[in-house]
Symmetry: C2
Subunit: 255 residues, 2 copies
């Protein structure tokens, strides 16, 4: 082991030339290196990447191979390309929060911005279901929050959020939470939500929920159970939203 370089850690420490590996296209290897650089924050949100030619030279592949790898990451919303300027690491902007991670639309066609009030925030040990959802060890702690979210001035969502305490040190000490949480996670804790899985079902409103939403108890609500994960699939947030669907619907495209 005379070489100091490592091709596998994603650092820019003069990686060895990439070699064709059986069943492993070069562009996948380029993609893995790029992913690692995002994961370990060597490339940070909002920053510009080296040009395709620079990366190609660094990794001893052609520009077209780098291009294919980066384009794939663009389809995953990890990178953004701007002609004439360069390739940038995606940030959690307002637009992204709304289009990618907020799927309640008004039945009257309007896409409304939610406004949230945080009701409570506590630190405590994870329950069993929380450990399962967030893949936590026995004894791990969580930050648990409650919110009510309004659309067009009307309370529409009551929400319970659970985060691994370990990933968010200091969170929960009576501070005002911003509207765009994923941007907050990214900016304050270096944690980037890359995708989320949702399970949707119908439930009856409990007494307290009904009060917050200004509806009758037992009214049918849409329950969205979401686990958000990082690029490397580590769970970051468990969120259960209960939504009044009298004026809004949850939308999805299929196929």
């Amino acid at each position: 082991m005379t070489s100091k370089s490592k091709t596998s850690n994603g650092k820019a420490s003069k990686p060895d030339k990439l070699k064709r590996a059986p069943g492993k296209p070069l562009y996948d290897q380029v993609g893995e290196i790029a992913r690692k650089r995002l994961i370990n924050n060597y490339w940070k949100p909002g920053e510009i990447l080296p040009s395709e030619f620079t990366l190609a030279a660094e990794l001893s592949v052609s520009q077209g191979t780098v291009r294919k790898a980066l384009n794939h990451m663009v389809t995953e919303n990890l990178l953004e390309r701007r002609q004439g300027k360069g390739t940038f690491v995606s940030e959690h902007t307002e637009r992204r929060a709304l289009f990618l991670y907020f799927n309640l639309k008004s039945k009257d066609g309007e896409q409304a911005m939610p406004f949230s009030r945080t009701l409570a925030c506590e630190l405590r040990p994870a329950t069993e279901i929380e450990r399962t959802k967030l893949k936590l060890e026995h004894g791990a702690g969580v930050v648990a929050m409650h919110r009510v979210r309004e659309l067009q001035g009307r309370p529409v969502i009551v929400e319970r959020l659970t985060l691994p305490q370990e990933l968010f040190p200091g969170l929960g000490s009576g501070l005002e939470l911003p509207e765009n949480l994923y941007r907050f996670y990214q900016a304050e804790y270096g944690i980037t939500v890359a995708k989320a899985s949702e399970q949707v079902s119908a439930v009856a409103a409990e007494a307290l929920e009904a009060q917050f939403l200004g509806i009758m108890p037992e009214t049918p609500l849409l329950e969205i159970d979401r686990v958000a994960v990082t690029i490397d699939s580590r769970p970051v947030e468990w969120r259960v939203s209960r939504c009044s669907t009298s004026h809004h619907t949850y939308v999805a495209e299929r196929g």
Copy 2:
């Protein structure tokens, strides 16, 4: 107009050479031609396409340009590629129906096949809401059907389907409907569903629905309102499914 050929109709009648157009990449033009050939059934479901080189020669572009156009259509599930064999027009298989267009999963992890019983089927003029959903003219007729669908032997979904009569001549004359409707539309009527938009909300079970599902009236149900469209975005089917979510949830991936 001395030339008999038309580059715009998607037929294989010796199209003119494609030319670079401002703001219109060649691969988009190739994609448009390929789409038209799918739309007018010049290339039929299950059939093999000419090889990349053949298409490239026909359209006077390079193989790489054809490749880019076809790959994009693969991501839209319009085509399938099989190494060493060729490129094929997608069919509505069992797999596709389940993975792309059936999004209720058992909470116990099992992915169950639905089993459907058709309760009623009638021909009648479209209502106003049906005309809106299916983009029909005043006075147009529809085929309206009712189904109950079971998962693991348990009735879980009551479903109302509405189709434009014009697109499905002869449908509704007391025939048994198959489980995979989209394959049926494709095989019997040459109509291919390419994608669908869904609006999900929570509703209370009506008396009759409750009876069919073996639950109490007023139980919260998940309502999925889906409009399915063809490659060229013409509405084909409006489907409203009301689902009991005691043992199943609707799943979606975001980001």
